[in-house]
């Protein structure tokens, strides 16, 4: 039971990261590889806010959300907008987003140095609950609550609001959307801002969860995030959410039933197996090629 919870907590962070990742893909058909850099940046920013400025962790989460949104706007402006007219915009955007991500990391290293950063020992409330032999800390509940809340909020936003309608219209066909009076540039920028804000919160939550931030933390989750969105079905928000939690659970069960050395083999093998059975992913629509 404790293992199920461990899996859900870790998985909810993967899911939050992946959902931001897949949002840009689903709406704009672009893969934003600077997403992991936003994730890392926000972890460091979160630690700085708490450790150096003495902000409480409750305020740090919204502050990081805003930071992430701003970074998303920067990524869109720098890496994607200048290239959008090119015929190879998919590929060019992929490369330029790697470049922007690399720049973020370099700036981060210049500011914070290469060392692992941690929160001060007393930054978190040490409250924990014990229920039937299962231990949960207040912090873990916060992590779960924030990620689920943000994911549901996003679902509402996409399905029920005017902005969401705009996003779906752009996803369907940007030209048609423009003809229908949707401000495509603004919807694009907003999508990036929301996506990065989610990635940023995922970053700070992981930093809370493991109480550390390293330069390499983004690389690990980027791979997992990609796996999750492919398994969930490219562009599917529900798929990313369920895929993320499934990966978290697969990891802990691999530890429990197979052996800790086999964790990645089992977790990624499982994902691979799903793809063999359902190439379009759990919730992806089968790709139809227009000619």
């Amino acid at each position: 039971m404790q293992q199920v919870l461990n899996g859900i907590f870790a998985g909810s962070i993967y899911a939050l990261f992946a959902i931001g990742f897949t949002l840009v893909f689903g709406v704009l058909d672009r893969l934003n590889l600077a997403h992991a850099a936003v994730f890392t940046t926000s972890a460091y920013v979160g630690i700085e806010l708490v450790a150096d400025l003495g902000l409480s962790i409750w305020l740090a989460i919204p502050a990081v959300l805003v930071t992430g949104a701003v970074l998303g706007l920067v990524i869109e402006r720098v890496a994607f907008r200048p290239l959008k007219g090119r015929h190879d915009a998919h590929f060019a955007g992929l490369i330029s987003s790697i470049a922007v991500g690399g720049m973020f990391l370099a700036l981060l290293q210049a500011r914070y140095g290469p060392d692992t950063r941690r929160f001060p020992a007393d930054a978190f409330p040490s409250t924990d609950f014990e229920l039937g032999g299962v231990r949960i800390t207040l912090l873990q509940l916060v992590i779960l609550g924030v990620s689920l809340g943000l994911m549901l909020g996003l679902a509402y936003l996409v399905n029920r609001t005017r902005l969401g309608r705009g996003m779906r219209a752009v996803a369907e066909n940007p030209h048609a959307a423009a003809v229908l009076g949707v401000n495509v540039d603004r919807v694009t920028a907003t999508t990036f801002a929301i996506s990065s804000a989610l990635g940023a919160v995922a970053g700070v939550l992981l930093a809370f969860y493991v109480n550390s931030a390293q330069m390499t933390m983004g690389f690990n989750i980027e791979l997992k995030g990609l796996a999750v969105i492919i398994v969930g079905g490219m562009g599917s928000l529900k798929g990313a959410m369920i895929g993320g939690i499934a990966l978290g659970l697969a990891e802990v069960f691999a530890v429990q039933y197979v052996g800790s050395s086999w964790r990645d083999v089992v977790a990624f093998g499982l994902l691979f197996g799903i793809l063999l059975l359902r190439p379009q992913g759990l919730f992806g629509a089968r790709q139809v090629r227009e000619v």
Binding site: Q2, Q3, N6, G7, F9, A10, G113, P114, D115, T116, R118, A121, D122, D128, E130, R135, T137, Y209, V210, N211, S212, Q214, T216, M217, N220, E251, V252, V255, Q256, G259, S260, S261, R263
Partner: protein, 393 residues
């Protein structure tokens, strides 16, 4: 860096009574054969070498092992200050960063071997790096003194490879024996990161020691040195209800592992390998670090003359307490000085010869001798209590 040295009367300690020569060229040209002195006190202390003796240190000042490397740097700098008060021989210390990357380490070693030749290389910080870089120095005939390499198989690389850091194979059996004796352990869970040479050899040493002491290993769990979330593993460990956790991991893994173990309600002692042996553990893990047991090569509470002097000087210079890495780095430089003076030569082969025969040198680590290029001095078993390492008894 140019340092003038003055005489200090630790002379009696130097076992080799060789003295009185002047070497013109530090590194490569052969120094004149040392003339035997007429016994008595002076010996190596009277040695005069005109040119500063070039010494290279390859440390991990950035990257995963940065906290160790920076500590070593402080230890070396302090040793230079102390050696500057002795006369006759001066040292020029070049410290280069290998960024905790063996590939970078090779570049640093190549620089020390040929481009800016040094008489002896100190380091590198991690055993992982040493296994890659030391063979290069061995091939070129440059002596290397490891000041923190504790994995098995380091000095086996060749006859130019020394270390002053007590290997885990010497410390771990003492740690397990002591912990079993004082805590009455019966069964343990072993955890180690299996993608690092250092932690893997630590695990092998633990495994042997546990068997030797007749302790039962109820479960063995592995993780990666880059891991930060250990909750799944620790839940497994907790379910096995061990009397203690035995962990071979670097400090970067040790801190979250210890914190998360306590968070999951694992209150049993955690016995760590050498990677746990850093004050950073208490600084970053706080209360969770209580009850961590680490075997160490250096007893910070030792009241020997050399150790007390080292502690005071370190606090005065660096504004903080030294750790074992600083003490071993400091000792490394003291041993280099003893070896240079013993043969009174800055030549690589002469240093290699006299370093290996050093006996009973008083250092902060205790009375130090080399036996077949391996260090000989007592170890200490510590437990974290009230935020500091105290001797377990």
């Amino acid at each position: 860096m140019r340092i003038r040295t003055a005489s200090v009367s630790t002379a009696a300690a130097l076992a080799l009574l060789v003295t009185g020569c002047a070497s013109e060229d530090p590194a490569d040209t052969a120094a004149p054969a040392p003339q035997a002195s007429g016994g008595g006190g002076g010996s190596g202390e009277d040695c005069v070498i005109e040119e500063p003796v070039p010494v290279g240190a390859a440390l991990s000042l950035t990257g995963a092992a940065a906290s160790y490397g920076q500590s070593q740097q402080k230890g070396l700098e302090l040793a230079l200050d102390d050696l500057a008060e002795k006369e006759g021989v001066t040292y020029e210390l070049a410290i280069e960063d290998d960024a905790t990357d063996p590939k970078q380490g090779i570049a640093v070693f190549e620089q020390f071997i040929s481009r800016e030749p040094v008489s002896i290389i100190l380091g590198p910080t991690l055993s992982n790096g040493a296994k890659t870089t030391d063979p290069i120095a061995q091939e070129e005939g440059v002596p290397v003194l490891g000041i923190s390499n504790t994995a098995a198989g380091i000095t086996e690389i060749g006859d130019y490879i020394f270390r002053n850091s007590l290997p885990e194979t010497a410390v771990i059996p003492q740690t397990i024996a002591k912990a079993k004796e004082s805590l009455g352990l019966e069964k343990v869970v072993v955890m180690y990161s299996n993608d690092d040479a250092f932690t893997e050899s630590g695990f092998t040493a633990f495994e042997a020691a546990l068997e030797e002491e007749g302790l039962e290993t109820v479960e063995t769990l592995t993780f990666s040195k880059a891991d930060t979330d250990f909750r799944a593993l620790l839940t497994e460990a907790k379910a096995a209800q061990p009397d203690a956790l035995v962990v071979s991991g670097l400090i970067e893994a040790a801190i979250p592992l210890v914190t998360q173990a306590r968070e999951l309600g694992i209150e049993v002692p955690i016995i760590g390998g050498n990677g746990f042996n850093s004050p950073q553990l208490m600084a970053d893990a706080g209360e969770a670090a209580e009850g961590v047991i680490v075997g160490a090569a250096w007893n910070s509470a030792s009241e020997s003359e050399e150790n007390v002097a080292f502690l005071e000087a370190f606090k005065a210079k660096h504004d903080g307490n030294p750790d074992q890495f600083a003490a071993q780095a400091y000792t490394g430089m003291i041993l280099v000085d003893a070896a240079v003076r013993a043969g009174c030569s800055a030549e690589r082969d002469a240093i290699q010869a006299s370093l290996g025969s050093l006996q009973d040198i008083p250092t902060p680590l205790g009375t130090f001798s080399f036996d077949n290029r391996e260090p000989q001095h007592p170890a200490v078993v510590q437990i974290v209590e009230g935020g500091t390492f105290t001797v377990l008894d």
